[in-house]
């Protein structure tokens, strides 16, 4: 899993570098500071889910399957919530602000970076949903906690990337 995270980080790095490199190089509006709003809701959902997944894991280690269900379900809901929030944000950007991937460099780099992250959230949400389903049908036991932990690692990684994305996209570029 360390190696997966390593290679995924390398992938994200290139998109982050492209984003940073092209800040302020767009020739036509809209520019970041005009259209971006700080992603309070999305961030709370995603960062919160990193906490709930830990709580959920602890329940599993202690052997409390029902507690695991509850907190895992909340984590899954938060992941789906984040995706819905992203859809909402993109709809707003595309239809109200007229920013698409082919509008300008900001659009190209924004959608590719945030989209890459969102696709990772999608994969993560799928995995979370899969585990929830398997668990509800009674196929997860407490001795599976090491497998579950791997998914948790992935989810934390997606979270860390979001931290970088917020910093780069919503703080640095939106304020310059």
């Amino acid at each position: 899993m360390i190696f997966v995270i390593l290679t995924e980080s390398a992938l994200f790095t290139i998109f982050v570098v492209a984003y940073l490199f092209y800040i302020g190089k767009s020739l036509v509006p809209p520019y970041p500071h005009q259209v971006l709003h700080f992603p309070w809701l999305g961030s709370i959902l995603l960062f919160g889910s990193s906490g709930t997944i830990i709580v959920s894991e602890n329940h599993l280690k202690k052997g409390s399957i029902s507690g695991f269900h509850l907190w895992w379900g909340i984590t899954f809901a938060a992941g789906v919530g984040f995706l819905l929030w992203t859809i909402n944000e993109w709809m707003h950007l595309i239809y109200q602000e007229g920013l698409t991937i082919s509008t300008n460099l900001f659009g190209s780099t924004f959608y590719s970076l945030v989209g890459l992250h969102a696709s990772h959230v999608l994969v993560g949400a799928f995995l979370l949903g899969l585990i929830l389903f398997m668990s509800l049908t009674g196929r997860i036991r407490h001795y599976h906690h090491e497998h579950i932990e791997m998914i948790s690692w992935y989810w934390h990684f997606v979270d860390c990337v979001w931290l970088v994305v917020i910093t780069v996209v919503y703080i640095i570029s939106a304020s310059s």
Partner: protein, 565 residues
């Protein structure tokens, strides 16, 4: 893996044959290869794929040399020529050298560390088939790329596909998409393959096989696979951006919208230079195994060899822009990348000296693998020296994109890597097929190929210094390039003859070669402990490893290595 010393009763069991999979029939044999998740069969498939593409890429090289043999040549059309150089470069790097690296690692690593298979056997098969079909996708461009647009065939953007040549305006039709998508597919295969090998090495070593007792080939593989994990994603990222640009109108490399064509070059070479080390480190690994066995001495300076490989891996992260001195970097950029490039020759030099010190005073056996290894030492040295020359920025400003560069990296890839790969074939073929490769044919192959290699690539240095640019379709007489190009093309024929001897030898020896036995070279690493070819489960039992040369300890119980390490 905890209990490998117990005997398992697997050899006597006969698996029930599936329908259509009767042993010995052609369909059964193919089915066996398609269904397999065994690391040895996948290793053979990887290497076989590489050989197939080597022949295809070689034919392309022969066409290029035929075109350039005489001034004002018209063997192929200019458009075809551009396709040939693109396909030749891409195929040789991504579907010959990379599958060879993965094939060698696949076959040897589990055997060398005493594992029964890779950590994730099915993922292993997945990686191979992605690589294989990626190659098929690239070649399908010859048929598929004309498509609805009626223009274009194979991609014609050179193997580094410099922007903005790849934008829709200049690459009409889908040929360039075949290039980027096939590389994307193969890239995923390589990353998953590298993951698998890393996990295998770190988690599946047999009892007593500590990191500091691993064979050097395994150490080089660790470094290689680390580089794949970190530096292949940038290529994939760049391909994703390119595809977004070509299909959704993104602006990444579109200079008219404020984008930067230079950024493509940065992204490509962030991958592209570590790639060279991805290719050459497995070759170093092969040489580090062959040289000691045929000099009858343990490798000189094992810890230094390991440290040097890891250092090469680390420094290779910071040298990419030496491919870009001529695009106009800042003074700081030029200095930084120039110095980093010169620095990387230090650990490489350490390796060369260690191999020489291993040979020095040894009881040398001039078998075919050893002569290839010795040729490797000489040729790789020269390749390294021209590399140092090109690392000096003012020299590079003069000779960038000339035939001098072509000569330099073909010296690395053919004179270095391919010679090591031949050593690999002659050394491990007996283990894989249970029969020796024929020595006489082997020496024919060696001499023809070595002479051909020098005839082809030595003159290209001179043509380059005389100003011949790379990627040119043809040239006028009277510039002093005719002789060098002619010799170069003649050399190609010798190389092709050598390859014919080699391929004939591979097939002939599989049936008629001398039976090898378990350990024909009197070697010291674990793979020679099992039968040739190894059983599906690799080892029936393994002793606890106590030194870097476990087989030496077994053969010489009175004088074991672990007393001295």
């Amino acid at each position: 893996m905890a209990d490998q010393t117990t005997t398992l009763d697997v050899g006597t069991q006969q698996l029930p044959a599936r329908p259509g999979q009767e042993r010995g029939t052609l369909t059964g044999w193919i089915q066996d290869l398609v269904y397999t998740v065994d690391h040895k069969k996948l290793g053979i498939l990887y290497v076989g794929t590489a050989l197939l593409f080597l022949v295809l890429g070689g034919i392309m090289a022969m066409l290029i040399r035929a075109q350039l043999a005489f001034p004002n040549g018209h063997v192929v059309t200019p458009q075809t020529f551009n396709r040939l150089i693109t396909m030749h470069g891409t195929v040789m790097i991504f579907w010959v050298a990379m599958p060879l690296a993965f094939g060698m690692a696949n076959y040897l690593v589990p055997l060398m560390i005493g594992a029964r298979d890779m950590a994730f056997p099915r993922l292993n098969a997945f990686s191979f088939w992605l690589t294989f079909f990626g190659g098929c996708l690239l070649f399908f461009s010859y048929v598929g790329a004309p498509g609805l647009y009626g223009s274009g065939s194979a991609p014609a953007v050179a193997w580094m596909a410099i922007a903005p040549l790849t934008s829709r305006a200049f690459s009409v039709g889908p040929s360039t998409d075949y290039w980027s998508l096939s590389l994307l597919v193969t890239g995923i295969g390589s990353v998953t393959g590298a993951l698998n090998i890393m996990v295998t090495i770190f988690c599946y070593r047999t009892k007593g096989m500590t990191l500091s007792r691993m064979p050097l080939f395994v150490w080089m593989t660790v470094t290689t696979m680390f580089l794949v994990l970190v530096f292949l994603p940038p290529l994939s990222a760049a391909q994703i951006m390119l595809t977004l640009q070509r299909y959704l109108g993104a602006k990444f490399f579109d200079t008219q919208a404020g984008g930067s064509a230079i950024l493509w070059q940065h992204f490509f070479w962030i991958f592209g230079h570590p790639e060279v080390y991805i290719l050459v480190l497995p070759a170093f690994g092969v040489i580090s195994e062959v040289v000691p066995v045929f000099s009858r001495k343990p490798i000189f300076g094992y810890p230094m060899m390991v440290a040097a490989s890891v250092l090469i891996g680390l420094i290779s992260a910071g040298v990419w822009a030496h491919h870009m001195f001529t695009v106009g970097l800042t003074a700081f950029g030029v200095t930084f990348f120039g110095v980093a490039t010169l620095m990387i020759s230090v650990p490489t030099g350490i390796k060369i000296f260690n191999w020489l010190a291993t040979i020095y005073g040894g009881k040398i056996r001039l078998e075919v693998p050893m002569v290839f290894a010795i040729a490797f030492l000489f040729q790789f040295l020269i390749a390294g020296l021209t590399g140092v020359m090109l690392g000096v920025a003012p020299f590079d400003w003069q000779l960038n994109d000339s035939y001098f560069v072509i000569a330099h990296f073909h010296y690395v890839i053919v004179g270095g890597i391919l010679f090591a790969v031949f050593a690999f074939f002659y050394y491990w073929y007996p283990k894989v097929f249970g029969r020796m490769l024929d020595k006489k044919l082997g020496f024919w192959h060696f001499w023809l190929f070595t002479i051909g290699f020098h005839l082809t690539f030595d003159p290209q240095h001179f043509a380059g210094i005389l100003g011949m640019p790379r990627r040119i379709y043809t040239y006028h007489p009277g510039r002093g390039w005719e002789l060098w190009n002619f010799i170069s093309s003649v050399g190609g024929i010798f190389q092709a003859l050598g390859i014919i001897f080699f391929v004939y030898n591979l097939f002939w020896s599989a049936r008629k070669g001398k039976v090898a036995g378990d350990d024909p070279w009197d070697a010291w690493t674990l793979e020679w402990m099992t039968t040739s070819p190894p059983a599906d489960y690799n080892f029936e039992r393994l002793p606890e490893i106590r030194s870097r040369r476990p087989l030496w300890d077994l053969k010489h119980p009175d004088d074991p290595d672990w007393k001295f390490e």
